[in-house]
């Protein structure tokens, strides 16, 4: 059974329909990516899955229960975390405070402490800067903080929106290494990326979005070899 399943998902901004009936599913343990051009509806899809936008039609099921229309603060408690586009760091809070807020919904003090240590293990840079206000971090460090913070909610499903955006190539490599590691630790991931090549290389499966619709869905390897995908998203 799928962990996450969306059927006929539609999301609108006022009169404008950004997502026009998407079907997608993510199985437990999978790493799935959504690729597509700017404005294809990737971020909108992710936001509605995380409860930041209410779908105007369709259904979303998570672990067998309907979650459409649920607010994000509720979904975190059910095990869905989103690293939003642009990272969403609380710049005036310290690095440590940002991380701690990731565990806001949890009550298990010892577990939180262990997970804080794990986050600092995963991102030693953050440990060095724990008392610094997060707004002073570089873009790459902020992305690490955003991912670390999302992990502190102990998600079963982690949604990542454009984790490579605005980062130097060496940092992009680093972030993808970490994504692979999180996946290997058993967290199910749904990844939205402009960098289709990198995304497909780490993913098991992928969906191609065009103007709010899924136009292709396949194994990541097959998509990488697909001439249409190669031409449109992988630079020929």
């Amino acid at each position: 059974m799928s962990m996450l399943e969306a059927r006929g998902l539609e999301v609108s901004y006022g009169q404008i329909k950004a997502v026009k009936g998407i079907d997608l599913n993510v199985n437990p343990g999978e790493l799935v990516c959504l690729i597509g051009a700017n404005g294809a509806g990737k971020t909108t899809t992710l936001k509605s899955l995380a409860g930041m936008l209410a779908p105007s039609a369709g259904d979303i099921h998570f672990e067998g229960k309907s979650i459409s229309g649920r607010a994000s603060h509720d979904l975190v408690r059910r095990g869905i975390a989103l690293v939003p586009e642009g990272r969403g760091i609380f710049g005036r809070l310290t690095v440590e405070e940002n991380l701690r807020l990731g565990a806001y919904a949890r009550k298990d003090t010892t577990g939180i402490r262990q997970d804080m240590d794990r986050a600092y293990d995963l991102f030693p840079r953050l440990a060095e800067r724990r008392r610094q206000s997060a707004g002073t971090l570089s873009g790459g460090e902020q992305q690490m903080l955003a991912i670390g913070r999302a992990l502190l909610s102990r998600p079963r499903l982690l949604l990542l929106d454009e984790p490579s955006m605005g980062l130097a190539p060496i940092l992009v490599q680093k972030i993808f290494e970490i994504i692979r590691r999180i996946s290997a630790e058993g967290v199910t991931l749904l990844l939205v990326e402009q960098n289709a090549k990198l995304a497909l290389e780490v993913s098991h499966r992928g969906y191609v979005l065009e103007s709010g619709r899924v136009t292709l869905a396949d194994e990541a390897r097959a998509l990488l070899a697909n001439p249409r995908v190669r031409q449109a998203y992988l630079g020929g």
Partner: protein
């Protein structure tokens, strides 16, 4: 008697009260970018509720200080409920409306509350019963009363408590996160509506204490007292940098001192032409100066830096 020291003392007392009320303005602004103009009226309700309770207990042979404390003990939860209700009824339905709508609503709530208070307690001034025996102390050539000391100390304790809450606790971090990016705070599992309610409730509790302080200090309360007090506290919040909690404290104390010194020296400065009843002019003079020359206030960030 040293007039300068005396005016500083008076200014600190007044300023601590302004600071307590200013915190309510600034906390709500920090989260909703809304000027809650009804906040002055919450302060007034604090004074009125406390006086009503104290009036009812006057005949009993309870000690005076206990009667005052019981007045406070009813006024605080009363104002908390009022603050909560104002947000739920008047502001929440307008969360996505243009900001002007919320601002006009705030003024409307303020008028409604004044009239409700007038209907309940009448138009006359209500005097604060002489429950607290006045003790005067001499300090550096000036006089300070036990009530003045109490007001300053209690205000400082409350402000220190609030600072601790906001900077050191999980709830405080959630409040700051919600103020900065409510959508992302939601992703952390923070329910923004709960945080907003708590903000209103905290501000109202401080306002209740401030209202009782004002009534005790001037010995009077009146259904209209929240209006000017609210405007001055708002000025204090702007002076410190609206949205900034430490700024509201600083702005409140500074405004109290400016007003007090101004009132003390205006006679000399204008060669006897203007008297100390022009005290209120200074607050608004300060407001205009701040808005013209430093709109972000003393500790506020530049508006452009707000994400």
């Amino acid at each position: 008697m040293d007039i300068f020291t005396q005016q500083i003392i008076n200014g600190l007392v007044l300023g601590s009260i302004y600071a307590l009320v200013a915190l309510g303005y600034t906390m709500v602004y920090g989260i909703l970018e809304l000027i809650n103009f009804a906040h002055g009226e919450v302060t007034m309700f604090g004074a009125m509720i406390a006086l009503a309770v104290m009036g009812a207990l006057l005949g009993t042979d309870l000690p005076g200080i206990l009667i005052v404390l019981m007045g406070l003990a009813v006024a605080i939860p009363g104002c908390m409920a009022l603050g909560f209700a104002i947000e739920r009824v008047a502001y929440r339905p307008l969360r996505r409306a243009p900001r002007l709508a919320a601002l006009i609503t705030a003024i409307g709530v303020s008028i409604v509350l004044q009239n409700v208070a007038m209907l309940i307690w009448g138009k006359q001034y209500i005097s604060f019963p002489p429950l607290l025996p006045v003790v005067r102390y001499e300090i550096l050539g000036a006089t300070i009363t036990n009530l003045q000391i109490l007001i300053i100390v209690l205000s400082c304790l409350l402000m220190a408590g609030l600072l601790w809450l906001v900077t050191r606790t999980k709830l405080g971090a959630a409040m700051r996160a919600t103020a900065q990016a409510p959508d992302v705070a939601g992703l952390m599992g923070i329910n923004a509506n709960t945080i907003i309610s708590i903000t209103f409730i905290l501000g109202a509790a401080l306002a209740a204490v401030a209202g009782v302080m004002v009534a005790a200090y001037y010995g009077l309360a009146h259904y209209h007292m929240g209006f000017l007090l609210g405007l001055k506290a708002f000025t204090a919040a702007v002076l410190g940098g609206i949205g900034n909690i430490a700024g509201a404290m600083l702005g409140g104390l500074l405004l109290g001192i400016i007003e007090s010194l101004g009132a003390g020296y205006i006679g000399d400065l204008s060669f006897g032409f203007l008297g100390s009843h022009y005290q209120d002019v200074f607050a608004f003079f300060v407001l205009i100066l701040v808005l013209v020359f430093q709109p972000s206030g003393l500790l506020g960030e530049r508006v452009a830096e707000r994400a």
